[in-house]
């Protein structure tokens, strides 16, 4: 394995760490995820195709490990369906988030998303992936990326506009439930 690959992987670390934090909502769990992703990437470096994006490949590895872990441990938080939530302003009177978004509030609200929706928000909104890139990383069609992302944002908007729910989400995120 060339040192050049290692150097490039180290260069990806800050973004991979941010991505893992967005997925897990927790620095320690995020760093553990990054380490596991790096170890898996190192052990399977022969599967990476030179000329393709190393960061996308590592995002995919991290996301797969995280999803596998969620499925295995059944630690996925309660998923709140936007249609089932009470008191959401209708389309005509929709209240939108206007104040500055804080990290704590966004992370807590992301805890209300499904795992797949959270991964889409992390990839597209935080890591700046295009819809096409996100589709390749997640292994789903672009249309699925768009529907997950739109649904995720509507849920985020609903949660962030309801102080009580945001507080509950923060408590949920803190307790890891």
């Amino acid at each position: 394995m060339s040192d050049d690959i290692r150097v490039r992987m180290v260069a990806v670390l800050p973004r991979l760490r941010r991505f893992a934090y967005a997925l897990t909502g927790n620095t320690e769990q995020g760093d553990d995820l990054v380490q596991d992703a790096c170890l898996r990437a190192l052990s399977r470096i022969d599967l990476w195709q030179p000329g393709t994006r190393l960061d996308s490949w590592m995002y995919r590895i991290a996301q797969n490990i995280w999803l596998d872990r969620l499925r295995a441990n059944k630690v996925r938080g309660e998923v709140v369906d936007i249609d089932a939530m009470e008191g959401i302003p209708g389309p005509d009177g929709r209240v939108v988030v206007e104040s500055e978004l804080t990290l704590q509030a966004v992370v807590a609200a992301m805890g209300q998303l499904s795992a797949e929706q959270r991964a889409m928000v992390a990839l597209v909104c935080i890591e700046g992936a295009s819809y096409k890139e996100a589709a390749e990383i997640a292994g789903v069609p672009v249309g699925t990326v768009m529907s997950r992302l739109a649904r995720a944002r509507r849920t985020l908007n609903a949660v962030l506009n309801q102080p009580g729910r945001a507080q509950a989400a923060r408590m949920s995120a803190k307790t890891g439930s």
Binding site: V10, A22, L42, V96, V106, S147, R154
Partner: protein, 247 residues
Amino acid sequence: MRKAGEKAMALVDGQLAPAEVPGLVQELARDPSLVAELQTYLALSRSRIASAFAAKDEEPVPAWLTETITRGGNLAERQPARQPGFGQSLLRWLQGSYRVPAWSLAAAPAAVVLLAVLAGGLAVPHPGRGEAMKTDLSTALEGAASGKDAAVTTVRPVLTFSSKSAGWCRQVEVRHANRQVAHALACRSEDGKWNVVSSTPPGPAGFAPAGADRRKAIDDLATSMMRGDPLSAEAEAALIARRWQTR
């Protein structure tokens, strides 16, 4: 309607094809609810969400995480995938060797068995005699230096490391009188007891493909649990002198 909403989102994200923009504008002009939805996406634009996470960018990457890559070793060459069925054979071996009740193993993960060291000592099997040869693994783990045989040349710690979640851990070789060698990984609990996290069946010593695979399964597990590098001889000696207290 839904498609129009997703197009509105794509517009905000800069992902809408230019050819589709005029059509979307026309729809926005005649559908107030679509405008409201567009406002939602504007409020949760990529730049706004990303800016919330900007604080994370200022945090330095922990050195142990960087070292996972820089000193992670050529794992592709050194540590192949664990053998299929390894966990089950380990369970059988542990159950047969240590007379562990089946119920206690049934509750354990297949590949990683947490087995409390009984009464401070671990019974190491002696296949030739059919009875367990008692070896004080706990004593060896507590006080022996890596690379040196401990006690009656039956337990040799190979390396010591800090694990991500289980405190101090040591990889050991357990050498039997008939020259068979088993490999094990044990971690020290807060109350000072050493727990065998995983171990292999005993096999021929020296280089042998099957034996090498067994050793690599433990290598692989140790690497996955490791936080940073294994301790140097000096750091390990200091840690033993401190009776495994970090500071």
